[in-house]
Symmetry: C2
Subunit: 258 residues, 2 copies
Amino acid sequence: MKRLAVTKEELIAEFFQSLVPSVILVKPQISENIGTAARAMLNCGLHDLRILKGKGDHLSEKAISASSGADILLEKAKIYKTLADAVNDMNYVVATTARRRDMVKTIYSPEKVVEVFNDKIKSGQKCALVFGPERTGLDNDDIALCDAIVEIPLNPIHPSLNLAQAVLLMGYEWYKTTANMAEKQLYVGKEPIAEKGAVLKLFEHLETELENRDYFKVQNKKTRMQRSIRNIFGRIDLTEQEIRTLHGVISHLIRRIE
Amino acid sequence: MKRLAVTKEELIAEFFQSLVPSVILVKPQISENIGTAARAMLNCGLHDLRILKGKGDHLSEKAISASSGADILLEKAKIYKTLADAVNDMNYVVATTARRRDMVKTIYSPEKVVEVFNDKIKSGQKCALVFGPERTGLDNDDIALCDAIVEIPLNPIHPSLNLAQAVLLMGYEWYKTTANMAEKQLYVGKEPIAEKGAVLKLFEHLETELENRDYFKVQNKKTRMQRSIRNIFGRIDLTEQEIRTLHGVISHLIRRIE
């Protein structure tokens, strides 16, 4: 059995060895964008940054400051001259692009492409996402080198994203598949959710005090009224502490004000 | 039947009338962040921006410039003093928060919360997402006002997002549910995908020329070899033009060089 990583250093070392999609920035023009892209990568569990050098400098002060602590990715970034060089050791490469080109090419949704990546990574294949220069995007020769295209669905009235935002959305889609987050959970801290018996005792406490005060005076409506109240509290997953709180609320409400 | 919006002005007017989740920024401190948050909202089909005024000024040059053309959202932004005021006309309000608090509260994943929003919006309810100030996040009283919490899954090694990035990720999750994008499609422009008959004719062309050149000389392996080749091209959804291209490739390959 695999030993669980314990220290932060071990976690980080393990992270940099994990097989996850690479990010290839083709000729980024603005240093800040390289930094914010690196930050987005680290946010989303991506670590292999490859750059085809453009005007932007990934080791400049601006890039490092914009990375907000993700400078380790900038330091480790690999530099290439051509996209062919950058994808040489890759098995499956997907281009991100906003405009449709006159090319016969598979277009994936972001969700689907990370599913495809996951399947390939499970069989040991190396995958990469390619992002073009800020203003112009990828040229057609670069896209032809890629196996497929991914399109991010955005409001057609205002679809332009900056480079780091595109990296963030794709990285986020990737990270979600690995994070396996619960869709819905009730955060209760250390407090246990009450058992049904305790909930029923609360109902009985409330109903007894209501009964004593003639709340159920029309006897043939009593069951329906009771049921309505139980349905209100039944929609809440009450903790043991909350049950105690509500007992206290009832006990105080019935006090006579002197 | 609803008439389809035709002009860009009509599309925009329709967009601003659509019932979509509101975004409430609680005391944003940095003007640029309000601008980039507005840009992210417009990217993702959100238009109702509500602000509890902090140090940031949503009508400053910095905010407008950072919004990259989404300044209409800044102009239309509604300003409030308290979160209670801002959510007064809302039916369902969800807080975004990174830290877990000592509160019993439902926590949703981003995907699940937009599903919940969609259900509520279909029955005419108004929903909002609440984002706290940049450094401190929402305070516990503000969170107690909200119906639930949404947590964005991020790499625990480096989970910090800036305000606009958080707005973008949540907005993107929302927009995806409305965009209904195909998971996978082959972009072929105006070119039709070939019918099977045309694909078979291509196979026959290739196989005849191979047969003529003794490719299938071991007769008992012929079927298997044929099948392998057909499986290669069968994995591709060829267009009619591509079929013509491949016929041309075969015709040229068999030419004798003088």
